[in-house]
């Protein structure tokens, strides 16, 4: 493999990997405050891209993206308020089915609003033939945008959880919901906030990736499966580990193209998910004893 090809695969892997990581972190944020795996996580990403594309008809690009992210956050909050907030300790099976139902409804709504066609946002800088040279590979500057924005998001999230009161409250809910309630934290509002947050980061990822990966009404499921793989790989609930896991999955996927046909790319990452679930359900970096205590 030439250096140029290697760099090409490497950058593609990192680009996709960091997107998967963002989706995985979205899973983690909601899982931590609620114990729910939100099967509609990928739909937030799809919505972000789609709404931004529509907004861009009237608004300049940066404003369209901001509006899309805010709108998707609102949708995230609505989903939580309408479908989850008022349920009294629902069973896991019930929550799985409800969030699957939500993802179908969102997807079908998107199909009826935007149709089946593939759309995309314009490139943030230049156009589809603009390239920059990195390590011998020619890549679109948009790749740098994806990597940059997602990295900033990851950093901002970790600062948010570490240093802000809201972030600490959310962590308290994650650690012990009852104790957090006793400390006067409104756990219900924290859950809404976690839905907004994970919807928001998903939507932003959906916007920056749109020019190179395109947006379509049904991209959510594939992203959700990969995001979930990443969340599990990193040990469910741990956001920083999800970044490492995301990059790992992205790289495996991108380098696998040189060995197996493209059509099998999804099958590879899902096989990886199955292998992880069977062999190390507590994740590559997780702790088995701690995982045994979690409720699935």
């Amino acid at each position: 493999m030439t250096l140029e090809l290697f760099s090409q695969y490497l950058l593609a892997g990192v680009t996709y990997g960091i997107i998967y990581a963002i989706v995985g972190i979205g899973f983690n944020i909601i899982y931590n405050t609620t114990g729910i795996i939100n099967f509609a996580q990928g739909e937030f990403v799809m919505l972000g891209g789609m709404i931004a594309i529509s907004m861009h008809q009237w608004l300049p690009l940066p404003l369209a993206i901001v509006a899309a992210v805010l709108l998707v956050m609102l949708i995230g909050a609505l989903v939580e308020i309408l479908f989850i907030r008022w349920l009294d300790r629902p069973s896991v099976l019930r929550m799985i089915i409800i969030t699957i139902g939500i993802s179908i409804l969102v997807r079908e709504a998107a199909l009826h609003i935007w149709g089946e066609g593939v759309r995309s946002l314009p490139y943030f800088v230049g156009n589809e033939i603009t390239t920059v040279r990195i390590m011998g590979a020619r890549v679109s500057p948009q790749v740098l945008w994806v990597i940059g924005v997602c990295t900033v998001m990851v950093l901002a999230l970790s600062l948010f959880f570490k240093y802000t009161l809201q972030g600490k409250k959310m962590q308290a809910c994650a650690a012990n919901r009852v104790a957090a309630t006793l400390c006067g934290i409104s756990t219900k509002n924290m859950v809404t906030l976690s839905f907004m947050l994970s919807a928001g980061i998903g939507a932003l990822a959906g916007c920056v990736m749109s020019p190179i990966t395109y947006s379509q009404y049904d991209i959510g499921t594939g992203l959700a499966i990969k995001g979930f793989t990443v969340a599990i790989l990193g040990g469910l609930g741990s956001s920083m580990a999800a970044v490492a896991a995301g990059l790992l999955l992205g790289l495996i996927e991108s380098f696998s193209v040189s060995v197996v046909p493209l059509a099998f790319q999804d099958a590879i990452s899902i096989s990886l998910l199955l292998a992880i679930l069977f062999l190390r359900p507590h994740g590559l970096f997780g702790n088995k004893d701690a995982a045994d205590l979690k409720e699935f």
Binding site: I37, V92, I96, G101, R107, P261, F264, D266
Partner: protein
């Protein structure tokens, strides 16, 4: 005796509907009704797995597709170019191959439908065991994701292999001559016999499953659903019971796939899609999870409506909405409470 009353009603309903279509000259309804019967097979099998053994599967369309695709591929693939292969000639000597001519008059050799059917079921059983052993150790979200992953892999493989027709699927699947004079096919002339065959299989499956849930095994499954640890400590081999149930429901889905593929004369990748799996789960949920008759009733109703195109382009959305509404407001299912209570009341009066 009590438990066989609904079965009697089912048989009466099957005959009644056919007579009705005949009397009203609406025999064209028999085609969607026959297709519905095969989808109902998948649904009652999944109901056993989800409602009684308490294990969710978001990949049952995968088993349906394994059955359908394998029998379709084996009965349409022309083996003439491979006739010198020792395995193929062995199959020929065993009488597993059919020799004929295609529409252009050139030689056409394919696997005999019974052999294809047997092969498809065998593969399903092997795959179900291979997937079931590790997957059923998982619970909750993990189980859901793992089965979903399995479904997607089957879907992707169906799309990826030219052997399976990629995005077009497989068409021109021949009829499946079960008995002299009875062939599973979409021929206009055999519409009535196929209707009875399909619903006869549903009635048979219901008889077997209803017996099962009222037996020692059914009790054990309910115990596993309710408190797995305690069930194990009561002497129930929980892993084996879950696995056997998984395989039974997989085989039912696969058989449904095989028969429907011969009936329709083809199969496409959408049959393997996630939305199909989710739809099966939705119907089991709306039927009340641990309620075979509820699942069958709602499955028949919704599938007929869907196949008749009553939901238009909102087909998938309808099932999504059903899932949410049922799980939010009536996790026991629509018929779960009212129907079984009504039945009990009627039965009590009858005693």
């Amino acid at each position: 005796m009590k438990r066989h009353l609904p079965l009697g009603l089912l048989v009466l309903a099957i005959i009644g509907v056919q007579l009705l279509t005949r009397a009203t000259d609406t025999a064209f309804y028999l085609t969607p009704l026959t297709m519905t019967a095969y989808y109902s097979l998948v649904i009652v099998g999944l109901c056993l797995l989800m409602g009684y053994a308490g294990q969710i599967s978001l990949g049952h369309a995968g088993f349906f597709a394994i059955g359908g695709y394998l029998s379709a591929m084996l009965t349409t693939k022309n083996l003439v170019p491979f006739k010198d292969n020792s395995l193929i000639s062995l199959c020929d000597e065993l009488g597993l191959l059919v020799h004929g001519q295609d529409m252009f008059g050139s030689a056409f050799t394919h696997v005999q439908p019974w052999a294809a059917c047997g092969c498809a079921i065998l593969v399903t059983i092997v795959v179900a065991y291979a997937i079931g052993i590790p997957v059923l150790k998982l619970k909750g979200h993990y189980l859901a994701m793992a089965t979903l992953g399995f479904g997607i892999i089957v879907y992707r493989l169906a799309l990826a292999f030219p052997l399976f027709g990629e995005a077009d699927g497989i068409s021109d699947v021949p009829g499946f001559p079960l008995l002299p004079g009875l062939s599973v096919s979409g021929d206009f002339s055999s519409r009535v016999s196929n209707y009875y065959l399909a619903w006869g299989m549903v009635a048979l499956a219901m008889w077997l499953l209803v017996n099962l849930i009222h037996s020692r095994v059914g009790r054990a499954l309910k115990a596993i659903h309710g408190a797995e640890g305690a069930a194990n400590a009561t002497g129930i081999n929980t892993a084996r019971y879950k696995l056997n149930t998984f395989v039974i429901s997989a085989v039912l889905a696969s058989v449904a796939g095989i028969f429907l593929t011969h009936y329709n004369g083809g199969i496409g990748p959408s049959e393997a899609g996630i939305m199909k799996s989710v739809r099966y789960v939705a119907i089991v949920a709306i039927g009340g999870m641990a309620n075979l008759w509820g699942a069958l009733t709602m499955g028949a109703l919704l599938n007929i409506m869907s196949l008749r195109g009553m939901f238009g382009s909102y087909d998938d959305a309808v099932f999504g909405a059903i899932l949410i509404v049922i799980m939010l407001f009536a996790p026991q299912g629509l018929l779960g409470i009212s129907l079984s209570a009504t039945f009990k009341r009627i039965l009590r009066r009858g005693e």
